[in-house]
Amino acid sequence: MVEPAVDLTHGEAHDDHADHGPQGWLKYLWSTDHKVIAMQYMFTGMFMALVGGFMAYVFRMQLAFPGINVPGFGAVSPGEYNALVTNHGTIMIFWVAMPVLLAAFGNYLIPLMIGADDMVFPKINRLSFQVFFVSTIVILASLFVEGGGFAGAWTAYPPLSADSTYNLTDLGSTLWVIGVGLEFVAFLLGGINFITTLMNSRAPGMRAFDVPIVVWMIVVASILFMLSVGPLLAGAIMLIFDQTLGTGFFDPGMGGDPILWQHLFWFFGHPEVYVVLLPAMGVVVEIITTFARKKLFAYRTVIFTIVATGVLSFFVWAHHQFIAGIDPRMANIFTITTLLISVPIAELCFIYIATLYGGSIRLTTPMLWALAFVAEFLIGGVTGIFLGAAGADIYFHDTYFVLAHFHYTFFPIAIIGTFAAFTYWFPKMFGKMMDERLGKIHFWLTIIPFNMIFIPLFVLGMGGQHRRIYNYDQFPDLAGGVFQDMRELATWSLLIMLAAQFIFFYNCWKTARSGPRASKNPWKANSLEWTTESPPPHGNWHHLRMPVVYRGPYEYSVPDREDDYWPQNEPDGAPLQVVDDDTGEQGR
């Protein structure tokens, strides 16, 4: 970046953005720059995705070929199987979906998209990552302690999770709770930053309804998280006390109640699924509007639907407990609320489809991912309705139907949505253009196997296969035959999908080495992050030329304009060049 010749002292601020902190790699560990923190979250999340994917590989091998020595792991004992499933679920949700979608993209995008130079509390932001980093170490360590990792499912229902004579993983279960608890603290710290930054630090001129949807979504998700996680944090304290001190909060023998944990867990657990859903939904909005060159259909309605979803999500939790021994009358109430939540989400999906109408669609790699998100998420969404109808859930509960349902929501979110966001903002983040051809090959080799993994699992679930069972030889009705063929099909597909990820990493590596440089705005998009360098400098914009906003982010293909896009910071009628101008004086 060319430093302007202007004397900086008259802008009374001393140069805030020069790096005074530690140098070298320490700089990255102690940086308070939101972009660096975003990268830290992203690469930790990417690493954990590989860990979670490896776990899926191990237990899927065991399911397809019971008893074999899984290459790279060895034979899988029942206890190890449970530990792998438990930590696969835990890691994928809390160490992949949340850090990547919420923390990494939240950190990266919020300041850039609202035209700020950083988060309002950079040090709290750094603390958030540091706590998260410790939590990562704790959860990984828990896998290797004596007795192995926690093996009581990611839902950790007591009494199993509360008493080591039941779960046989004394240290593992306590470390698991501590790890998850720390992770929550990290996201609480991060969330406060996200919310206050959006509320207070928007660029001059940016009204609430000029904020890009993805920022709204991430912030609403943070609020949802913040308002739902409290009871579970309290529950986690109680659980740790049950485990280590011998209290009996969840022990019926001591006057406690195991169902209490389920309420505390799902009161958080259901809003949590929307916490990860919303950021992915937001990413998709940015991408489809850009590549369809379309204004978002009904911007305000989108905001209202996500708020409605958020509010409703606090009243559906017991649909995970229909047959858990709660009062059966409660099931009826929760069936109503659960089915009602399909209305705002259906509305969102319809809005996305409507946005495509009349567009000029370019199927770039990010666009493919974004469209695939919509197509696949619909499958996950509609299968939730089967489960929400309490009568049908009697049969489906804890079968692979549930499993396939939530992989059809989580995979689109945590993997498809992440790849969409990653490929879309890659030029901004790293200043290079990825290889489109490799990107598309990677896309197809991920999407097709994905469906081939989980469609068979739907069928297995309808056939009565239950979750967390390490070997179906025990169940004559389900062992062997077509059922086993489907298990093998799922596993083979997974192997293909995992292999395809090498294409992705190769693409990243190749691009980093020899990819073409990215311009400021390679996709010709409107939002503010595209008005600064790729990658943005420390402070995002020169501090004398912070952006000013004149309109919403989705003004594509406005009639009577030559360009089919209209950056948010471009004054009405002004020629485009001013934005690219580097001299500083005419900046705003």
Binding site: Y157, R362, I394
Partner: protein
């Protein structure tokens, strides 16, 4: 009214899994209804979605339209479907209530099969059959580990208990599932409608041996069942208590193919 609900009793999923209880067809019918309603919207949404993608591919010289979705004429493409989705929701809720009420809230009185006590424990099921007198907690009760025997076309109540952690009593062919909670007794019912031998699973993770907490249910016609009862009725109450001790060791339960055995 009941005729209306009868309409939703189906067994379309028979090829995948048997319908072997009186209410299995109710659940299948509900699933079928959801499949129809939700499937309709799903196909419609996907159809329109892919149609738009194909139709509006970028072409040189064509510019995208500018639609902000605020005009009524545009907005109704969202509002009308969303009201219709609401209508579908209501229909599903009503049918679901009916099924749920029948299975989980209503307990048919005077079960002609008797009451069976089902006790989950790490990692085996103990079934306390009522025996010849069809009365529970009498001397002729038959205790079985991982083996459940019932007579076809009779209504049973069950009392579900757990001695340690959560388990879940699941018999897929009956479409029944209920968590067992230590410290509580949960009652429910079933009425088998087809003879045969089927899986009983534990559907709630319960520790190391969760995967091997497998049992079998034998649904027998009247003679076979009577013969089984006669053969297994304990000579004395003391013998009955003996049989009540389930095999507690992990090794026994975890042995491959260890279902149904003791």
């Amino acid at each position: 009214m009941s005729g209306f609900f009868e309409f939703f009793r189906v067994d379309y999923f028979d090829p995948l899994i048997e319908v072997a209880s009186s209410y299995a067809a109710d659940i299948d019918g509900l699933i079928w209804l959801v499949l129809l309603l939700v499937g309709f919207w799903f196909l419609l949404a996907q159809g329109v979605f892919f149609w738009f993608i194909l139709k509006y591919r970028a072409q040189p010289g064509r510019r995208a339209e500018y639609i902000d979705g605020k005009k009524k004429r545009h907005k109704r493409w969202i509002t009308v479907p969303h009201l219709l989705v609401l209508v579908c929701d209501v229909l599903i809720i009503v049918i679901s209530f009916n099924v749920w009420y029948k299975i989980k809230m209503d307990l048919p009185d005077n079960p002609d099969g008797g009451v069976i006590r089902v006790i989950g424990q790490q990692w085996a099921w103990t079934f306390q059959h009522p025996g010849a007198d069809r009365e529970l907690d009498t001397d002729d009760d038959i205790f079985m580990v991982d083996e459940l025997h019932v007579e076809n076309n009779r209504t049973y109540h069950f009392e579900l208990q757990s001695t340690d952690v959560l388990h879940s009593f699941s018999v897929p062919v009956w479409r029944i599932k209920q968590d067992a909670i230590p410290g509580r007794t949960i009652t429910g019912w079933f009425r088998p409608t087809e003879t045969g031998e089927f899986d009983v699973q534990c559907a709630e993770i319960c520790g190391f041996g969760h995967g091997v907490m497998a049992a079998r249910v034998w649904i027998e016609d009247a003679e076979t069942h009577a013969a089984w009862v006669a053969e297994n009725t304990p000579a004395t109450a003391a013998a009955a208590m003996e049989a009540a001790m389930p095999t507690p060791t992990v090794a026994a339960a975890a042995a491959p193919g260890g279902h149904g055995g003791h």
